[in-house]
């Protein structure tokens, strides 16, 4: 019977491939379940944080594109948003994985001038890159639609005043449109971020293999549920971790929301609370 500290050092980074190689098989303790599932959370956080960070910028581009008067820009953005919002993420994962598998296993050299990066297409079939790309496209589409809605809701008087002050288009976008868009979109975007974290749990149930049993939280939870034939311990542990994570996101996004609303008189500030109509994506 090892102590919980030993378990922590054995399995704390198991999802990344460090520590004990074999997963616990018999006499599974509560501590082992907590540590290993917590270790899996590293992947959930990795996927969601990177997808959201990259997706934030791409979503802004998509929203501006969709809002464009030129159909050359707006049509592809509309199509992109429609495809990724209109089909299930689960199918997107399968589809993307099977496409990535078909791509010949080549290496590309990208010459950045100061260094040459070798990109290997076989990385695409690994979860850390392939699934990340799917999640990135998915969150970009959802956030793009949210930003587009907010963009349409920017008050026209604000734009007129900017014109009256002789702002250039770039300055108008930087100082007026973008901050207002973010402020209006923020509650829905918070919601999207929470659901992005939840969506990461799908990764290892689709084509992407968990190589050497390096999986995410729910991968280990279902492993334990299979081994112990008792779902009443591992799944509540996953639930516990995700509730903590959700509270953390709400706190963090709430701080940003405060900053975005700083210039408004206190009675006009929107407190960040869930809009019950827009709860889900």
């Amino acid at each position: 019977m090892s102590s919980c500290f030993e378990t922590l050092s054995d399995y704390g980074l198991r999802s990344l491939g460090y520590g004990e190689r074999l997963l616990p098989k018999a006499d599974i303790t509560l501590c082992e379940q907590f540590v290993l599932i917590g270790s899996g959370m590293i992947w959930n956080i990795y996927f969601a944080v990177l997808a959201l960070l990259l997706g934030f910028f791409f979503a802004t581009v998509l929203a501006l594109g969709k809002n464009s008067n030129l159909s050359l820009f707006s049509a592809p953005c509309r199509l992109f948003i429609f495809i990724f919002r209109g089909s299930p993420l689960f199918i997107q994962f399968f589809f993307a994985y099977d496409l990535f598998v078909l791509i010949p296993r080549l290496g590309f050299d990208i010459d950045l001038g100061f260094l040459v990066v070798t990109v290997e297409t076989r990385w695409l079939t690994k979860a850390w890159l392939g699934a990340l790309i799917v999640l990135f496209f998915n969150t970009s589409a959802y956030a793009g639609e949210i930003f587009y809605g907010a963009l349409r809701a920017v008050p026209s008087q604000d734009l007129e005043s900017a014109d009256a002050f002789g702002f250039t288009e770039i300055k108008k976008f930087k100082r007026i449109i973008w901050p207002t868009m973010l402020r209006l979109a923020w509650p829905s975007y918070t919601n999207e971020a929470i659901f992005m974290f939840h969506a990461t749990t799908l990764v290892f149930f689709t084509g992407f293999p968990a190589w050497q049993q390096k999986g995410d939280a729910i991968y280990y939870a279902s492993y334990f549920a299979d081994k112990t034939f008792n779902p009443f311990v591992p799944y509540p542990i996953v639930g516990f971790y995700f509730i903590l994570l959700t509270l953390l996101i709400i706190g963090l996004f709430g701080l940003i929301n405060r900053r975005l609303n700083k210039h408004l008189p206190t009675n006009e500030r929107k407190r960040l609370r869930f809009n019950k109509y827009n709860l889900v994506r």
Binding site: G86, S87, P88, F95, F197, A221, G239, K276
Partner: protein
Amino acid sequence: MFSYCVDPKSIEGLMWLSCYVTTAKHMSFYFSFLVVMGLLSLAAPLAMAFGFAGATASRSSFKIIRSVGKGYLAMIRGIPDIVFFLFIPIALDQAFEYLRHKVLCSDVTVPIRQGNDFVVCAAAKLPLNTASEWVHDIYGFSLALLAFGFVFGAFAGNVLSGAMAAVPKSQIETGEAYGFSQSQIFRRILIPQMWIYALPGLSNLWMILIKATPLLFLLGIEDIVYWAKELGGIKTGVYEYPHPDWRAWYFGVLMIFYLSLTYLSQSVLDKISARLSQGQATMAGKAG
């Protein structure tokens, strides 16, 4: 299917294709699309029932019922739905078998949980070992359906409780002034007026329900994802219809299926919303 399909290796081109897409396994694949539609048509009313119960409970004047209702509506925000989809069917299965074991085999004293095993007597098994294949299928589907109802009930409950809160206070107060009882106010005023507020959320929910149907695969149901994987995989020469890895094509078909389903739903929902907004004192209701 067709008479010329007896020896598929000797034919080519369109004839080969027509034989290929009408094999028995492909028929199961097509049938699984109907399973998805069946799930949608059953899960939607079930989720509404769960949601209505949850929303009503969260407004109850009894503290215990209220906190149960609020907890039910809140849990879906913090915990990924996949956790529930994995947890609920197996938990329900064990709960049913446990109860049946207690009732049917009360003379057995061996504990049910033996280390890593869950052992119930043969008579308590669900479905019975002797049951035919379709009983197992129906049982698995029902557990999946309950999981969908439970999860989407929590989503629907959030929408409905928001809609109930959006009904103007003065309407309720008018009911009170006329001497309506609480249940009369609920039935005659609150419920009829909340639907217009609930519609956007419920439309949204319908779209999410459509997009959640492939998760049936996680519950061990032979659904469209299962068949797409099965049929698309590499078939070597030992098979009647050998072909390379076609999974991407099959999942491409599923993408198109879901995109058309959501597109169609969206246009129908837009029409309904336009219809219901007519004459309402909202921005959408005022003729342009």
